[in-house]
Amino acid sequence: MTHWIILPVVLPAILAPFIVLAARYHVGIQRVFSIAGVIAQIVLAASLAWQTSDGTVLLYQLGDWAAPFGIVVVGDRLSTMMVLLTAILGLFVLLYSIGSGWDTRGRHFHALFQFQLMGIMGAFLTGDLFNLFVFFEVLLIASYGLMIHAGGNARLRAGVQYVLFNLMGSTLFLFALGAIYAETGTLNMADLAQRLSSVDPAETVGIRLAAVLLLMVFAVKAALLPLHFWLPSSYAEAPAPVAALFAIMTKVGAYAIIRVYTMIFAPGVAVTAGLHDVWLLPAALASLALGMIGVLAARSLDRLVAFSVIGSMGMVMVTISLFTPESIAAALYYIIHSTLAAASLFLITDLVAHGRGDLRLTAQPFFAGGRRTAGLFFVAAIAMAGLPPLSGFIGKLLILDAAFDQDSMRWIWAIVLSASLISVVGFARAGSTVFWKARSVDPEPDAETFPAPDALSYVAVGGLIALLVAHTVFAGPAYRYATATAEQLFNPTAYITTVLETPGKLSDAKAKDKEEDH
């Protein structure tokens, strides 16, 4: 049994209190520890991803108690891939928040950031539904703090909406967990997957209810129509680095849906037939369409990016809702792309806000650093809208290909393609208004000018864009990895046996008892 796999959760859990208690008044020390922590996370995550890349499932039993009674942390290809993605995103977001000085505009940015990472990592690694709830709460309570970082009335109001919406999501989550426990007597995912087959087909009301409630909770996280209302104002009002980090939070919802609905309520399980396999696809298609129409209709750049996040989550969910190995592989490829593209767009939005002071889509005089910002926006918008040559295009191609032999192919192709067209128009309009028309407007003589953003900010955004390019260039290996991950998800036997049959403390005694009983 390896102890390494718990470290992505433990490391930020130790760093964050240290930053609060010891480095409270020294932002320099906070920055050093925060960056060092995230770099250590990347190294850890990369080594975990490397260990699981051959299909092994890593297991850590807390207190050496065997599942399903003990708490387990499980790492397979999917979890470690998401952990690595989070750590890399965390580094660039942190660099940006230091470069732009966002971390000094309020207290405890770095501590909250570490707690946020802890919650996200935990949610990806846990092998137990109740701990998924606990880690959701950890990442949410840190995100509440980050969301209202630096204060301001609009931000606080958006914060209230965000907190209330997510609290309702958590309450629903608990109702779902209660129903699952009442029906099956376990909350361990591997154990649930096994026990679900022995549920009496005549009495499935409770378990069907729980499956739908869980899907609703994850759909709130993934901002799926009609549960997306919290997203536009929270993401638009949140500080830019925080919004960029939140790009992974919607993917936590997508991850939870992939995990729970391929392993526990798998496509072939009879008790939940006719639920999510019927209406997840229409909801996903509607949120894809709504997101991209929102991109076209937005009147400010931050809302535009927020709606493009809804749209790209819709795209991810359309692919997931087909529940075939090809579609999950395409969804995984697109999830990485969409996280990086959304994060870089949020950061670029902040570069624009830094130069102009506001984000309304009107022609305003050119601002310092505008040329570089315009170039970055151009690349990131191409990626987000899914135009060639960047990874958005490859991801969309994979999605269309995965949907090709499905009954719903006509709908998926029609909506994906027209939504892309709408988003291209939306991004082109926004980009030309903000950057191009700026040439034709003369600055007012007494207008205040802002200095160009810090070079470190550009390094952070440029790094994210470079990752997008790398994701395009190495699309072959990335897709092969995603395919292997999807295959592992659809053959969960290794996962289940590793979790349930690894002996822990007192397992020998129990086995002996059993032998004596016979």
């Binding site: 509440y144 009335n153 109001r157 209230v160 209330l164 109702f175 129903a179 426990y181 009442a182 104002s233």
Partner: protein
């Protein structure tokens, strides 16, 4: 007893849902706390209702499931903390904007500084 517990959960949930859909923050927060009470009792009941039995495996024939009790404890702590956080943020928002409506104010996008319309 089943009827009592079930109807308590039902009434708490109904009242909570109604309050959550109000327009101002304070009733919404009250509704959220009602909903969390409801879910706590619900979780407690998910291990089946047993009276005067120890929550531990002993030699006794009758025992009650200890796991839901642990789950409820966790859920209570978390919901308590979350309610405190939302009260603080809502208070900050109310004191700052002098308005405790949950919805966004209608903003005139063409106004130069994005001020709220009356």
């Amino acid at each position: 007893m089943e009827f009592l517990v079930a109807s308590a959960i039902g009434i708490l949930t109904a009242a909570g849902t109604y309050m959550v859909m109000r327009l101002r923050t304070f009733p919404v927060i009250l509704g959220m706390s009602l909903l969390t009470y409801a879910v706590n009792v619900f979780l407690f009941a998910s291990g089946r209702l047993t009276v005067s039995a120890p929550p531990i495996l002993t030699d006794a024939e009758v025992y009650t499931d200890p796991l839901p009790q642990a789950l409820v404890l966790t859920a209570i702590v978390i919901s308590f903390g979350m309610t405190a956080v939302v009260v603080m943020i809502a208070l900050g928002s109310y004191l700052g904007a002098d308005d405790d409506h949950v919805n966004d104010p209608v903003i005139d996008p063409d106004a130069p500084d994005g001020e709220a319309k009356p």
